[in-house]
Subunit: 401 residues, 2 copies
Amino acid sequence: MLRAGPSQEEIRRHNLGTLLRHVHLGGPMSRAELTHLMGLNRSTIMALTADLTAAGLVREELPRDTGKAGRPSLVVLPETHRVYVLAFDVGVDRLAAARIGLGGVILDRREAERRRGPFDLGQVVTTLAGFARQMLRGVRADAVCVGAAVAFCGAVRKSDGVVRIGPNVGAEEVPLGEELSKRLSLGLPVVVGNDANLGALAEHARGAGVGCRDLVYLHGDVGIGGGIVVNGQLLSGADGYGGEVGHMVLNPGGRPCGCGSRGCFEAEVGERALLEYAGRQGGAAGRDGIRAIVTAAELGDAAAKEALRRVGHWLGLGVANLVNVLNPEMVIFGGMLRDIYLGAAAQVRSTLNTTALRATREGLRLRTAALGDDATLMGAAELAFADVLADPLEALSRAAM
Amino acid sequence: MLRAGPSQEEIRRHNLGTLLRHVHLGGPMSRAELTHLMGLNRSTIMALTADLTAAGLVREELPRDTGKAGRPSLVVLPETHRVYVLAFDVGVDRLAAARIGLGGVILDRREAERRRGPFDLGQVVTTLAGFARQMLRGVRADAVCVGAAVAFCGAVRKSDGVVRIGPNVGAEEVPLGEELSKRLSLGLPVVVGNDANLGALAEHARGAGVGCRDLVYLHGDVGIGGGIVVNGQLLSGADGYGGEVGHMVLNPGGRPCGCGSRGCFEAEVGERALLEYAGRQGGAAGRDGIRAIVTAAELGDAAAKEALRRVGHWLGLGVANLVNVLNPEMVIFGGMLRDIYLGAAAQVRSTLNTTALRATREGLRLRTAALGDDATLMGAAELAFADVLADPLEALSRAAM
């Protein structure tokens, strides 16, 4: 609600955040472009830029190469190497961490395999905190960590950020953020989000979905998670569990699912179904197993082709249901689903066309994650940058304490 | 975006709209309550109330009975009999119209049966415009019609408000709003919305869903439509077709659906399935047919009970899928689904509990439409009031021209 006069100070903070978000997401841009984008006058943009420069959040310099004749104008760009966040990703088969600078640049990155089996919080936290320590060693003396966040392959409760359940990694009621924050000892809270939700956030902010107001991101990682963007905002649902599309039932009485039900999206389309249909249950699982089947199908292997066709049918049906319910502009396939979609695109399209209403699908675009395997990690970084983008100077002074 | 200073005039317009919305949705309230709700000081509230009073949008009077001792303070209330909209509803079996006053009060109402069969735009428009003429006859000389809207049982394209498709009434590419506006000759555009979307809007604004940020409204009318509210806003989707849940496939290879697919939510749960399962295909259809089955089941009729159990199972599965995807706080059953849900609630709950994730369903409430059969009509009224609530004085002066 607009009060009878937001104060000059409130307006300034808001505008500082907006300007910083523009260069964080859009990259280097001239003051003239910012003046145009923000609808403010030149002297205001100059003052805002001066404030952010003084705080060390942006700097101005000559552009690399404008391709135009004449004297180029200065561009404002984010202080990528000075202001950064720590982003983590806990997937079924991997633990990843990155130091990501303002502007969304991966400055440093670590990754380890995760052995499948019961969830060991201590071991996960030790690995991730170890990665963080290694990455913080070489950091410039004036660099500031402004946030930390984890993408987790399970449902995360909104009210307290606790992992409610992650059936594919055997996790339940795990205070991951709190434990990791303690172990990092940076005086920063660690925010936790569902990996597919964060993948959606990242693809919307700087991936395949830039400019889309309504999209669905589907993330395959043994199970299937979803992130739904409605009118430019991530759908969280009442308790934070919005987008658990993996447990939408597509085939009643079908394949048993880890959740206790049958015929769920992830039971019919996930890794296990594909390996079994291809007769490769005993072989490589995970990403390698999926890729081997897609490659075999390309080389003409009949069992692999048939397995992809079957899984592609259910994937098309799941997408059709989401398209009818949500009428998104785009559906993005990430994680393992990227490979499965690429190997089964014709079947997916065919089932989609016979199942979704013409009205809901006629404007639809199907895409793979532009950020590839880093979508979830980049989404965690966006979550970690949220405070500094909301109120840059305040967040920075808190972080620098 | 906050510009460097929204003008005093912009702030005043915004605040006028907000105050009017409070009394429109919340009913009579004192200036003290408005001061508290809007976070403004008393003199600003007094000035805003004076402006709205001068325009004839609200008035102040002593409350009916406060139940408290001492001198009661004046309450601000909407000028229900002076400021109204025309709301229309085109369902499969009925055409309805109402004159609805500010504050959401039905001042007058007309209804006619609609014969099933191909869509006859001329006949629909003639009937609705005839209702409007009848209702406008007895209106006070100083009354102002500030808007008009139709709830339609089909998909409505966002870009131009044209009915894209209404399979259950045989409609396709119908310029209903434009034609009705011409025939009404009130110099007002007629906005068109999907009936279930508008039912969701009404139940959220003044029905079972007041105070819920995330809800799903399911509307049964031969077919099944849905309206989804996310974070307090109606989900429209990229082209306006969000919420077409009736064509989510629940039972692949199941009952044929009017859309050309099989096993859709509305094919498994709609009127036709229930009548057939109960062995009553030749008997009464529509609302009466459904109610007869529910009554028969209550009286112990085995076929009716079994029919409700079967349909209740699919209804539970459809709800479970929506709950997993959207994690709403509440699901509301309206139209014919109200009766079906009341007759099959135990089965619906049972299937929901075995299918939806515990996390997504543990906070969920299931409710019937508090506005009953008027939910869609009331939703059309909310759509028609949108302009006057956004900028009261401007919209009023346009309407009074």
